[in-house]
């Protein structure tokens, strides 16, 4: 399959009164058609910013450098009208907290009509509702919910509605930013299984942004581990989990509870500030395998081993 989304040297910087914040630095990542890519990292590592940068949803104080190519088009060069047309039609996004993502003053029905008409003004509201019912059935939401207001739905229902709103135009890529973090464990499994089955039905790729390693291990084909705005390690899921190379990935995997020893490991220290310029490896202060070179020289990611793994570490 060809590359659906290609990020090359993507960087995002926020201007703040305290100075520039480098939320994403020099990230290159490829998503193939029909695959699920997991993007994991601690909160504050820049993973959500990366997701928004792809859709150009960042606030005005953000500057984006590098390139985003979606289905061969340069997303960063699109006109406002073109990017608007892309959003929701070819590229869709769902968010962490479904409770606040629907307009509280609008019925569910109107969210659908509005979205369909935004891309296809000629559609009558009757036709739009028929389409809404179809996608709602696909995400297993009874169609009587259409007449309700968001506050009348549960969190799981709202996230399903959000997903249905994304499916209206059968997008090629869905960016799911912590889609289940606000939901309980049972709902989490349901929503992810739903996503997985829909993905096949709609032949759609998913960029799953999460801090939950378990989800990534279970659902994604490839994984990118992000640390302090950069990608530390990236590769196919099974080998990466079997044999993590980057010391940060190793630490992360160790911090998942080991059922045999029931001891809980955590990576010592805290993630660095993204404020201002940094030299060297961002993980250096917390790394248990650090070397002198790590403090001054940033390790460019390179291919390691046979499984096309990219690792940004001086050890390799």
């Amino acid at each position: 399959m060809s590359a659906l989304l290609e990020l090359e040297h993507l960087s995002v910087t926020f201007e703040t009164p305290q100075g520039p914040v480098h939320a994403v630095q020099d990230v290159s990542l490829t998503i193939e058609g029909g695959s699920i890519v997991g993007l994991v990292g601690e909160s504050g590592c820049g993973k959500s910013t990366l997701g928004r940068a792809i859709l150009r949803l960042l606030p005005e104080n953000a500057t984006v450098a590098g390139s985003v190519r979606f289905a061969g088009r340069d997303v960063l060069a699109l006109s406002p009208k073109e990017i608007r047309d892309l959003r929701g039609r070819n590229l869709a996004m769902i968010f962490q907290d479904p409770m606040t993502r629907l307009n509280p003053l609008m019925r569910i029905r109107d969210h659908f009509i509005e979205t369909i008409r935004a891309h296809n003004p000629a559609v009558k509201s009757g036709q739009a509702l028929e389409r809404a019912k179809k996608v709602l059935a696909d995400v297993r939401v009874p169609s009587d919910r259409l007449g309700m207001y968001p506050h009348e739905l549960s969190g799981g229902m709202r996230q399903r509605v959000m997903i249905a709103l994304c499916l209206l135009f059968k997008p090629a890529l869905l960016i799911a930013d912590e889609p289940t973090t606000a939901l309980d464990v049972i709902l989490e499994a349901q929503i992810l299984q739903l996503l997985q089955s829909i993905m096949h039905e709609y032949s759609m790729s998913v960029l799953l942004i999460t801090h939950n390693l378990g989800l990534v291990a279970e659902f994604s084909d490839r994984v990118a581990v992000m640390y302090a705005g950069r990608i530390a390690e990236e590769g196919a899921t099974p080998p990466l989990f079997r044999e993590p190379r980057h010391p940060y990935t190793q630490g992360l995997l160790r911090s998942v509870i080991d059922l045999e020893t029931t001891s809980l490991y955590s990576v010592p220290g805290e993630p660095p500030s993204l404020l201002g310029e940094t030299a060297g490896c961002p993980f250096y202060p917390r790394c248990d395998k650090r070397m002198a070179v790590c403090e001054t020289v940033y390790p460019e990611p390179r291919l390691v081993g046979e499984d096309h793994r990219k690792v940004a570490c001086h050890l390799y």
């Binding site: 009164p17 305290q18 959500s48 104080n61 953000a62």
Partner: protein
């Protein structure tokens, strides 16, 4: 990296200092500085009135209604008194009213808000009802009623104004307390059996204190305007005390002839109240960055 605002429990003074060091070049910081500068200038005018004012404010020094110019920079009023001198002396009244009335409002509103917010339940609802009734009533009318009953004088007028603004302090503090009360560290302290008074003193008061400067500066401006309104209606201070609002009431009937005698006192009221609002708005932006948080959050952890 989220900066000073993320540290929830630093002391107010520490925050203010940190803020001015970090924020003095942002808009909010500049607003605070301009506002403080103007207020301090007026304070200096008030304190040094005997030395600065060119004439005695209560003496006829020239013919009435002389236009601005010459020895009388702002002209003379109907009584032949120097408008500028009266303005300089008159700056004492609003400042005194601010000091006294906000102290009274705070002294009553703060404990009521603390108790009401912390106790909750029936008592909270009772106090809330009383406060809301006062709040819903037109403030100037209430002040007129009280002033009409207790008579003239700085203390009396300040008291009348103070009553009007107790609910504002009460509201803000009560709402702040109810939200702070649910913070885990406060719940923990209560669960561990710490006496109420100490919980309020140790955990709640320091948190709530940060909203006081903001209410203060907003209320100070309102107090000045209310005093001016009372004075214009003839319910202000006894004659003989120069006061901006009183001067307007003396001269406004002749506004079309000698506009300066009314215009300048009013202008000074506007300058003082706007400066106070600048301080309040700036402090609010700095201490209550709720609105700003989002952006920084995006920059900080997205």
């Amino acid at each position: 990296m989220a900066g000073w605002f993320a540290r929830g429990r630093t002391s107010l003074v520490g925050r203010l200092i940190g803020t001015f060091l970090g924020q003095s070049r942002t808009i909010a910081g500049i607003l605070v500085w301009i506002g403080l500068g103007v207020v301090l200038t007026i304070l200096v005018l008030a304190l040094l009135a005997p030395f600065i004012a060119p004439f005695d404010p209560n003496t006829k020094v020239a013919s009435p209604e002389l236009p601005p110019g010459g020895a009388f920079l702002m002209g003379t009023d109907r009584g032949g008194q120097d408008v500028l001198s009266r303005i300089i002396w008159g700056s004492r009244v609003p400042l005194a009213i601010i000091a006294v009335s906000t102290t009274i409002s705070l002294a009553l509103g703060l404990p009521l808000g603390l108790v009401s917010g912390f106790a909750g339940g029936r008592m909270d609802r009772g106090i809330l009802l009383v406060m809301d009734s006062i709040y819903a009533f037109p403030g100037l009318l209430l002040a007129i009623a009280i002033a009409a009953v207790i008579g003239r004088g700085i203390l009396n007028i300040s008291f009348a104004i103070a009553v009007v603004y107790i609910p504002t302090y009460f509201r803000v503090i009560r709402n702040h307390v109810t939200s702070v009360k649910q913070e885990p560290y406060v719940e923990a302290a209560v669960a561990l059996g710490m006496p109420r008074r100490r919980v309020i003193g140790r955990y709640i008061l320091p948190n709530v204190a940060q909203s006081i400067p903001v209410i203060f500066s907003v209320n100070a401006a309102d107090a000045v305007l209310t005093e001016a309104g009372l004075a214009v209606l003839g319910l202000g201070l006894p004659p003989g005390i120069p006061d901006w609002g009183f001067d307007i009431s003396l001269n406004w009937q002749r506004f079309d002839v000698s506009w300066w005698a009314t215009f300048f006192p009013g202008l000074f009221i506007l300058i003082l109240t706007t400066a106070l609002t600048f301080v309040g708005e700036g402090l609010n932006d700095i201490l209550n960055p709720l609105l700003r948080k989002r952006e920084y959050k995006a920059g900080a952890q997205a």
